[in-house]
Each structure stands twice: as structure tokens, then as C-alpha cells.
Amino acid sequence: MEAQELAGRVAAAVANRGLHEAVARSVDRHSYAALAALSPELRTLYKARARAARLRSVRDLADLAEQFIAEAERHGIVVHTAADAAEAVAIVAEIAKRHGARRIVKSKSMATEEVELNRHLAAEGMQVLETDLGEYIVQLAGQKPSHIVAPCLHMARDEIAGLFSREAGREIAKDTPSLTAFARERLREEFRQADLGISGGNFLVASEGAVVLVTNEGNGRMCTTLPKVHVALVGVEKLVRSFQDMADALRILPVAATGQLITSYVSIVRGPAKEGEEGPREVHVVLMDAGRSEILGGPYEEVLACIRCGACLDICPVYRQTGGHAYGSVYSGPIGAVLTPLLRPDREAQALPFLSSLCGACSDVCPVGIHLHEHLVALRARAVARGVTFASEHTAFRALRRAWTPPRRYRLVRGLMRGALRLGGGVPQLRAWTAGRRLPPVATGRVGELLRREGLIEERR
């Protein structure tokens, strides 16, 4: 079977009831809050403006990148360009080494997850601490985030209390205030001592050379304000034309993510601190391509408009049953199933578009109107053309072809199937799917007869 490991992970996730409960609790809250936050009229309006702003960015990406570099440098930001993950990691490592950084604090960033920055920096002997509460928890657990907005939504508080108690060397109570207080105290010390802060970026504003970070906890602000050096690693697709376009996208991003009209903090980094100011002495931006330019101008370029709100994960019936880890990619859910095969060439990544019911809920909910389900269908076709298929599917189609090819055999199989369905047994191979569903009664007439009666097809000879 192709993509064997993927199938195994999915099966394990589907069998894990505790996981379903944890995932459902979070995603439902996000979805309901998002729905309640705006009137339908404002939602439609904000979505249209956000989509226009983001598509404009995709169309003008090269110009915006050039403008961003010039403007950022005018404000004293050092801009680096990275072709791929390896280059991005090497650039960050080099900056850290140059400053003799040993303790690094980091705020949540999918781009840094994508390139596995922490693992590489740790290999250089640097201590990198995630400071977003959810990221800190998954880091302690030795896991990866399972949702692009809520990294540890798959975990129960007992597990978190266990991790914190181990870290503290004493019992930490399970209630949220005790858990949060522990993380706050532990991480405050790190913020005070860190030599380097690493962040991602939600937007890069070309006309201003600014990096925009959207956060709720304040750790993003800490990472970009307290250490003497700040490095932002950002995918080039995060560019927007202007502050006005950024405001258009930002008006819907937190609504779609968590149902907030705005997050607690929006940081707009416009350069290093000047003489007499507190703040970082050096600010670096690493503009990363890592597969983006290959998507640009192609049939899937619309996905570059994604603002990583996570709404498509929250609404997805597949994500609900599997959680994020089953996808085996930093990007999970519908956007992950579209983006991963475009960024990663391996066969498992190519199989991800099959993790969808194609219900289209993701496209409906997407605040920038990305036609996710259409891309999923197209990427399935691409995967099949590349020979990525599931063995069970192969067997089924081969069996169908055999059963149906001579008309006489087709009629025989059809009759047997009707009998089996009438008896209520269903098809044994499909039982996993039909269990819990009631099939409609088998019709008495046949479509073929009906069509013939109506003269729509010819009489059988």
C-alpha cells in the first residue's frame, strides 16, 4: 500500500476517542465564536476586502519583495533571502553564532516549524525555548503542534500538569490558573536572560518595510522587544502591499481564528531601537522561498493568499476525527492537505489531498475565499497521475472492472447486490463506512428501465 504510514496514523487517530473529544471541544468553540463575532453582512464585506488585499499581494509578489527589502533596510533592518529551508536555517544559525547566543526565546511561527529550526539550532548547542504557552507545552512533550493556531489542542490538562510537574520537579496543580502561573514564571526568567528572540510574521508590509505579528499572550512582544537581537523568519507569501491592505486582512484574521475582533496584541516591527530607546539593537528578516515561487503563477497560486487562520481545520470533518498529527505535516487540515503536496515532493505528502470528504465547508469558511476543495480534487488527480494511489482502491476498481465489463456479468452482479442490500447485509468491505449509517431502501424499479420507458435511451437488443 502506498503511503502506508499515513494510513496507519489516520487509523490510530480515528480509533482514539479521547483525541476526538479534545479536538471537537476546541474546534467547535473556535467555529461558533467566529460565527458569532460578526453580522453576516460585515463578514461578507470583510472577507471580500481581505481576499482582494491578499490576491493583490500574490499578483505583485516580486515587486512587493523588492520594495519590502528596500524599505526595511532604510529603517535599519537587515534582510536576508533564503531559497530553501536549509538556507533559512543556516542564516539564522549564523546570526545566532555571531552574537554568541546560547539562550534563545521563540514565539509561535509555522515557518520555523516548517524548516525545523529548533532541531537545527539545538544541534549547534543552542537552547531554544518556545514561549507561546501551547508551543511550550508541545515542546516539553517532544511533540509538534497539531493545529496552526492552537498547537496543543489535542492534549488534556492531566497530561499538561504531568509535563509541568516533571519540569518543575514538584507537583503542579491541574487547574488552568496554576498551570498558567507556572509557565509564566518559568518563561519570564528566560525572557530576562535571552540573547536572541526569534519570531515568524503574519504580514510583511512592503510599503513600510514592517513585520507584523498577531498574538494574544504577549510572548511575541517579549521576543521582539527584550532580547538585543530579533530575527524574523517569514515566508515570502506573507507580503502585503501597504498598511491599508494589512488592515484589510487583519480585520478578518482573528475573527476567523478565534472569534476575536482583534488579538490582544498586534506588533508592528519597524526596525531596531534607536539611540536612547529600549528594544533590540539588531533586527533581521529572513525572507524564505522554500517552494513558494514554484506555486506562484501555477494552478494552485491562490493558496499563497492563505493567512493561516486555522478556520478550515476547525470546520473540517476529517480533521475533527484525526487531529493534526495524523497528517504528518506542520500544516494539517484542508490547507495542509493542499499546501503540503505543493511544498514537499514525497509520496506521503502527495497522498494528503485524499484526507478530505470534499464537503466544501473549508472553502465556505475561508476568510480569503480560497477554493480549497477544488484544489484538493485537482491535487488528487495530480497524485494519481504521479502514481500515488491506495492499494485498497486499486483492488476495488480492478474488481469492479472485472464484475462490470461484459454486460451479462454486470447484470448478474447487479442482481446479487440488490439482493444483498435488500437482505440488509450491505457490503462487508464497506462496513467500516456503513456502520452507524442507514442506507435508503433499495428502489423497486431500475434507472435503466425508467430511461428506456421515457425513450431517453434505446431499447436493449
Binding site: 516580486a62 531559497a83 538556507e87 507561546d132 519570564r188 522587544t225 494589512m246 530607546e277 522561498d289 503563477g297
Partner: protein, 197 residues
């Protein structure tokens, strides 16, 4: 990768060839007439405590709130006047402060937000590091939306837009306040006599 090569790769692609042609986005509705009330309402909704008054009244409120606590504050004249009788900690020691006191450069009614700009007299740490903060918001600086505030971007360094206390719902989606940033945000809306614009 060299910069020219990086940009060249982007340029070599027919960007936008699979996107619909550009359409004009619909206009935003006009803001309500009374944006002061809207700001107060939305700041409270974002989890702030909101007080409205004259400068002496707000000064008294702050005194009562802070009491014997220490403050990390900006060096702007109204902030110094507001917190004159309070014990200040040096800007280099933000972690020592019980309170932060700052002057908002702008405020956003639609979201109940306050805007801060890094300048020599305005450390961004004052609204970030102390567990509780008090923010002076002159009514003349309230606008409707972030887009309005950024039409003419303020002079100075990095910006922070603050909307309520620090929050997280990472543990079983259970909201907790004051994770890394301040857990208590007191907004002192100061009718500075210039009207609301």
C-alpha cells in the same frame, strides 16, 4: 541565495495568471457618530477596566489603584504629571515594576484598542512587562479603525496595538488572563477638550 536570484525566481513566474482579474473591494460602512462611547464599550468588551474623567480625577483613580506599588512609565509630560506621586522604577528594570503607565498614541474604537509607538520617551516595555498597566487615552486621539490610524503612519519606531489583557486558551480551550503580558488593563479616558475626532 543572492538577492537578485531570489527576486529573479519570483519574477520568472507568471504571477496572477491563475487568479481572477482584480476587482474593486466593496467600501466599508461609515463609522458610528459617537466613537468615544464605542471605544469605551469595546475596550470593556476586550477585558479592560475603563474610567472616564478629567485629568485630576484620573490622577486620583491611578493613585488609589497603584497605592504603594512601583511604576514603569513613559517620559511624556502627561504621564509624568499623572504619576508624579508614585514610586518609579528605572526603564532598564522593567521586571521590577508593579504597574506600567503609558500614554496612548492613538486608540481604535471599533476594537477598543490602544496604540503605542517606540520613541526615546515611550518604552514599549511599559505596556508589556508589568503585571498591571494603566493607559491614558486622550479623547482627541480616538479613531475608528486601525486603517484610519495608519493612514498617516506615526513617526517613530516599532508599534504595539494593545486590546485588553494578555490571554491564552491553550489549555483545554479554557481562557486564562495575564499569561506573559499584563493581566489587568486600566484605561483612563481623558477628555482633553479637543473633542473626538
Amino acid at each position: 541565495m543572492r538577492r537578485e536570484e531570489f527576486l529573479g525566481r519570483l519574477r520568472s513566474r507568471p504571477a496572477g495568471s491563475h487568479l481572477p482579474s482584480e476587482q474593486t473591494a466593496p467600501d466599508l460602512p461609515s463609522p458610528p457618530g459617537d466613537i468615544l462611547s464605542a471605544f469605551r464599550e469595546m475596550a470593556a468588551k476586550a477585558g479592560c477596566r475603563v474610567a472616564l474623567g478629567s485629568f485630576p480625577e484620573l490622577r486620583r483613580t491611578l493613585m488609589e489603584e497603584v497605592g504603594q506599588g512601583s511604576v514603569l512609565r513613559g517620559g511624556e509630560e502627561p504621564v509624568l504629571a499623572l504619576s508624579a506621586d508614585l514610586a518609579a522604577v528605572p526603564v532598564e528594570e522593567p521586571f521590577a515594576a508593579d504597574w506600567g503607565v503609558a500614554l496612548a498614541d492613538g486608540a481604535l474604537a471599533r476594537t477598543g484598542s490602544m496604540c503605542f509607538v517606540r520613541r526615546p520617551a515611550s518604552p514599549l516595555t511599559a505596556t508589556l512587562v508589568p503585571p498591571r498597566i494603566a493607559v491614558l487615552v486622550p479623547t482627541s486621539r480616538i479613531v475608528w479603525d486601525l486603517a484610519d490610524y495608519l493612514v498617516d503612519p506615526p513617526e517613530g519606531g516599532s508599534l504595539a496595538i494593545v486590546s485588553g489583557p494578555s490571554r491564552s486558551a491553550d489549555i483545554e480551550n479554557d481562557l486564562s488572563i495575564g499569561v506573559h503580558g499584563p493581566g489587568d488593563v486600566l484605561v483612563l479616558v481623558w477628555d482633553d477638550g479637543d473633542g473626538v475626532g
